[in-house]
Subunit: 254 residues, 2 copies
Amino acid sequence: MTDAGTATDVGAGTGRAASPRERYRAQVCAEIKQHARQQIATAGASALSLNAIAKRMGLSGPALYRYFAGRDALLTELIADAYRSLADTFRAAAATAEPGAGGVVALADALRAWALADPQRYFLIYGTPVPGYHAPEEITAIAAEIMEVLLDTFDGVPDGPPPGATGADPDADPDADPNAALDADPDTDLHTHLAAHRQWAGDHPAPPRTLRRALTYWTRLHGVLSLEVAGHFEGMGFDPERLYTAEVKSLLPA
Amino acid sequence: MTDAGTATDVGAGTGRAASPRERYRAQVCAEIKQHARQQIATAGASALSLNAIAKRMGLSGPALYRYFAGRDALLTELIADAYRSLADTFRAAAATAEPGAGGVVALADALRAWALADPQRYFLIYGTPVPGYHAPEEITAIAAEIMEVLLDTFDGVPDGPPPGATGADPDADPDADPNAALDADPDTDLHTHLAAHRQWAGDHPAPPRTLRRALTYWTRLHGVLSLEVAGHFEGMGFDPERLYTAEVKSLLPA
DNA sequence: CTGTCTTGTTAGAACTTCTAGCGAAGACGA
DNA sequence: TCGTCTTCGCTAGAAGTTCTAACAAGACAG
């Protein structure tokens, strides 16, 4: 009795080789998810229909319930896949980049490319959540991994401009002294606050300013990216990529 | 023959007084939308059901089609309402704030309060879009108004640190010279690029650096806010508000 | 070969959106 | 006051969805 349990753990995980039946099951699962992804990409997650997928696969409606407990289960699996996919590209980007500031730039580039390659996949993670939903432990673990890669990469970067006074901008007004503001109270607070609640970073041992810089990097990237991918810059004429790279540079040494 | 047309233009707009019938219609419309909002707030937009609303109002299913052409029409109306609501709070915040840097802070505070007051309303605008959707002209007009308020308010602010080297942070590393990076090429590009494509700002006459600062302000605010409201900071222990105010200050003079 | 386990099937309940057509009740002009 | 005209709410019903239940037929292990 498989009971449409976790449909993913078929091949790997268990030590023994996959039986032909298991391989078949895994393949059908993959095909279902493939169709689901395509459906989501073209009409959004709310248009995901098990029935339509079944028909397109030459199966009859309820057959899919042998593979997924229901529509929500399939969607949850796709979300988990999206998280895994992002974690993988992040790890890959961090691994291939040369050490130093290039690493975090590579991460930013990878994030944007990943998001633009499949906007709806981005929204599976960062889009509208259902009100009561709380992510299962499996997913929060992957999210933590992603943050860890970011923190690790940032930890190897020589200090750029601090998040308050943040990096590349030619428009340094001679009258305004960027450093004047750097001793404002709230920001010291933020440093110590983030360092004190290090749990968000999985108790990453990075120094406070790195914690803060990485987190701010993350939010600034998503600030541009989420608006761009959602189409809020559409018809505005300018190139979102330039805004993005500017924000990337805002936290990096020249 | 009303044909479930634009259900909103009942009272105002036309010069003559509203007939009792028109007032009744407007009231029913409002009640429908009220139920819809509540339903969305508790279960998300995908759970919006005309049938359920009708039942809860003591009406029978198809009666609602006298007021809205369909589910999508109702949702579109709610989205437009959300835009109008944000534009209103923005205008109010800009109007009551004292001139100077306090204005943009008031805008940021208003934005966050508005978002937290009803997260699903925030997502109606900034959440997952349906792939093919293009906003009608009515909505892009409101969006432009919102940007205009932001730009107007920013235009009255004395220059803070430029977006590259951006404001309040105590962690100014003595070794890193924030100004060193300020002449990097890409950023000059961005200034001129944004100024050249001024259409995104409704041809707002603000100087290039103001355009850039306002736009970056906007993305940074949404960067923190969207992640927070979507629950991505949940269980992380730190206080998102501090991150938010830090980003607010990042573009403001001390 | 036999029994179990897995898969796909159909039937059907309970939903949903949305259309068609009927009847009643209010608004308005003569 | 009367008749007409518009608007409104209803029921019936088509087409779609998710998902359950019971059944038939294949594949695998002993």
